[in-house]
Amino acid sequence: MWQRIYALIVKELLASARDPQTRWVVLFSPPFLLLIYAFAITQEVSDVTLAVYNQDHGNASVELISRFEGAEVFDQIIHLRAGADIAPTIDARRATLVMRVGEDFSRRLERGESAEVQLILDGRRSNTAQILLGYSSRIVETYNQERLDRLRATAPVRLVQRTWFNPNLEPLWSAVPALFAVLVAVVGFMVSALSIARERELGTFEQLLVSPLRPFEILIGKSVPALLIALTSASAMLVLGMLFLNVPIRGSLALLFFGMVVYLAAIIGIGLFISSLAKTQQQAIIGLFMYMVPAVLISGYATPVENMPDWLQGLAAATPITHFIVISKAVYLREAPLWLYFSHIWPMALIAAASLLAATWLFRRRTG
């Protein structure tokens, strides 16, 4: 029995290594995707045009505006002459942000009252707008602070911000671990979902079925190579992440790899289940995407799971990607506590057991 499984594993690995398409799709493209996606989702904003409509002519407003002018994000400043210019400026995307200073701004500050500055943002570019709002608030806050210092007064409460695990708020640091989890799943899915469907399509599957190989032997012989291939691809991604994206791994690599094996067992189980259902590779690909796209969307990759309705959170918990994103982020960014780690390992192990059993069952049924 072990020899038969060994034969199948050797065959799968050889076939993948000898087929240039498989080689490309499975081993080289995911690390590349990691690099490309990582750069594409960078959240830094630069080269923004700021429009200023200043109705006030006092020193205070000039000082505030000069701080904005000095900020690195704002590449270009337009001065508006009339309130009527504001709408067309945003409409035509001449500026993403318009700052309007009222005519009594300096006067009110001198009187010791609080004054208002209006910021108008282009909501069509919501992500950029959000970030600009953050920048602008910080500029205003610093301005307030310094003003209070000059007056030798103290503000009642001061907010001091420090982001742990990603002290400089590097966007890549939080993006790469999640992306890594998704791309590992893609490789595992592709290799496993295509494997049986491909043999069925090419007619080699019957040749396997008439041999002494038993159904569960075929499934083991299909799972192990898929696992090895996906782990190889994942290692390449880890190395690339460190070398080119400068994303460090703070936690234990051993825990990461152990988690990945459990994770891939679940992924491959689902992949083989889909593959047992499909008659052709095309069907397998379609089936795979019907599962994979929603699974990634609810996994917490794009939006936090905690913000989802309860029933969706339940579904998310049944998706291995959800759990591995947590593990991946934890191991990447910190020395994760073991209770957190194992609280996400056991659901994946459960999914792996269930999906592999279901695949074996379906496989037996479909070949009778």
């Binding site: 034969a7 050889l14 090419l202 080699t204 079925l209 008439v210 070949t367």
Partner: protein
């Protein structure tokens, strides 16, 4: 007659292939003829047709279709020809009528002309009652008829048919042939490509291709005349006809030999004297009977003779004596939904017997075959291999059988050697035994030069050999062959059967499915499966005798097949 197509020095090479697909072919196709384009798979038939249709560009030489070049004047040529590729582009999810509509739209056939054409074509093809049926639900023969109808929505001057009879049972094959003959009466010129040599016999002229060379161009009768007086049948053989064939094949006077039911057919070398029947072990009662040559005899003569070497499997070790019955089928029934694909099929196959399952496509022979080999679970009934029930001890039973699929089904991305190793391991061959058996297969099938080549890139003949090697390496007791030599050239087919016969002599049992009735002649006994029922069981000679009549005293296997099916139809008619 006028030449419709003139071809001069036509050569076509494909990248990454050492040998050209066609090598300086020159010929003329005269109008109003059926021209048979004959040759085994890979001999260049499809390339030839595609060049005429302007779908490929020639490397050298020229083609003239009614005064036009197929590539430079594509529009003019396409208006004159209809091309039906091997897998005609029928949309399986559209009905017969919708398929016809689509091709009429593509060809710009509208209004009353369309209506009249459809009526004519549906009547002509006999598809009128099935216009609403999905193309995917048609039988192989009906699909080809629909394909033909779609190709004919605009009446062409030249009709190119690429192996229209592949996958079509003998009855539909005859109907298709009759339909095409009628087209030539209307003045349409037809090129009919085929790997079946018996079809070539019926054409007015034939072009015979072999490995890209045009080796014959003329009337079939002229070709057959080459071997006139050199073809004999040894009748009344006592003992094993396989032994007689094996002896005869290796005799210096003999160019080719085949088994025909209980007789052996010989083609002698020119001016050679037939070997004495005693020397080839045919027994005292045997007679040498001269017979009329067939196209295939002439084809073999043209390519320099059949397979004449001794099979390396001859004289091998005797297979287990402990079983008398190698395969048992007991009331095998398989339902797909409410459809009965096979019903109550029972027979025994003795050890060392070649047993054939024959029948039209979709009649249930593949279903039966799959139940016997364990690929399909019977709804009821049971199958035993060497006494082992396939349901209870499937893995053990499967270890005793070898299986060769119709389609090449080894791993194309793996090399020859890697395939051999994989199957050796899967069948539990280890250590020294594994190495010896692999070495023996490489030697027996002359694979030494091809060991590192990807098996998917091998020439057809080698693929065939490698498939057989992988199926027999573990010395199975029972060998399952699914349409083993369809499309294979006659010489490779003879080589194949020489190996099989040698193994059978050692006690291997062979189950073979085929609708290629020449192959059925090699069987000791055959079961005829039709509409899920076994309608006849017997030796080929018995089956032929059942079909013999006053009008047809010496039926071929194909005649017998058709007669038995028609008889069954008549009995079961409501």
């Amino acid at each position: 007659m006028v030449a419709l197509v003139t071809i001069e020095g036509l050569t076509k090479r494909f990248p990454k292939q050492a040998e050209p697909a066609l090598r300086s072919v020159s010929t003329q196709i005269r109008s109003g003829h059926i021209v048979g384009l004959v040759g085994p798979d890979g001999s260049g038939k499809t390339t030839f047709l595609r060049l005429i249709a302007g779908l490929l560009r020639a490397d050298e030489g020229g083609i003239d279709v009614g005064g036009f070049d197929p590539v430079a004047n594509a529009k003019e040529v396409r208006a004159r020809i209809a091309y039906m590729p091997q897998r005609f582009g029928l949309y399986e999810d559209l009905s017969v009528e919708e398929n016809l509509n689509l091709y009429a739209d593509l060809r710009g056939l509208v209004g009353s002309a369309r209506k009249a054409t459809f009526e004519r074509l549906l009547d002509f093809t006999g598809l009128a009652p099935f216009t609403g049926r999905l193309a995917g639900a048609l039988s192989g023969g009906m699909k080809q008829k629909l394909g033909l109808a779609c190709a004919l929505v605009v009446t062409p001057e030249l009709l190119l048919l690429d192996e229209p009879s592949v996958g079509v049972d003998p009855i539909s094959r005859r109907e298709l042939w009759r339909m095409v003959s009628r087209l030539t009466d209307e003045g349409i010129t037809v090129v009919w490509a085929t790997a079946y040599l018996d079809e070539a016999e019926k054409c007015e002229t034939v072009l015979v291709l072999s490995e890209g060379d045009l080796i014959f161009d003329g009337r079939p009768a002229d070709l057959a005349a080459r071997v006139e007086g050199r073809v004999f049948m040894i009748e009344g053989i006592e003992g094993d006809r396989r032994y007689v064939l094996n002896k005869a094949r290796q005799h210096e006077a003999v160019m080719d030999g085949t088994i025909q039911a209980s007789d052996v057919r010989l083609l002698l070398n020119e001016n050679a004297h037939a070997p004495s029947l005693a020397s080839i072990g045919a027994g005292d009662e045997a007679r040498l009977q001269p017979v009329a040559p067939r196209f295939e005899d002439a084809f073999i003569d043209l390519i320099g003779g059949g397979f004449r070497a001794e099979s390396p499997f001859a004289g091998g070790s005797e297979r287990s004596h402990d079983i008398a019955i190698a395969v048992e089928a007991r009331g095998l029934t398989r339902m797909f939904g409410s459809f009965t694909a096979a019903s109550e099929i029972s027979f025994d196959v003795r050890r060392g017997e070649v047993f054939g399952l024959i029948g039209p496509n979709g009649a249930g022979k593949s279903t039966t075959f799959k139940m016997l080999s364990g690929l399909l679970k019977p709804t009821s009934g049971e199958a035993r291999i060497a006494g082992v029930d396939l349901r209870t001890a499937a893995s053990e039973a499967r270890a005793r059988l070898g299986y060769m699929a119709q389609k090449f089904s080894l791993y194309g991305d793996l090399s020859t050697l890697q395939n051999l190793r994989f199957f050796a391991r899967v069948y539990g061959l280890t250590g020294v035994r594994q190495r010896t058996m692999i070495a023996r297969m490489i030697e027996s099938f002359a694979l030494t030069d091809k060991l590192d080549e990807n098996s998917g890139q091998l020439p057809l003949g080698f693929k065939q050999r490698l498939s057989l090697a992988c199926a027999v390496m573990h010395e199975p007791d029972v060998l399952f062959l699914d349409e083993p030599t369809s499309g294979v050239d006659p010489r490779t087919r003879r080589e194949f059967w020489a190996h099989i016969n040698a193994m059978v002599t050692n006690g291997v049992t062979v189950i073979v499915t085929t609708h290629f009735l020449d192959e059925a002649e090699y069987c000791d006994r055959a079961a005829l499966i039709y509409r899920g029922q076994m309608i006849a069981l017997g030796t080929p000679a018995e089956l032929k005798a059942q079909a013999a009549s006053s009008t047809l005293p010496n039926p071929t296997f194909e005649d017998a097949f058709i007669a038995l099916v028609e008889e069954n139809e008549a009995v079961n008619a409501p």
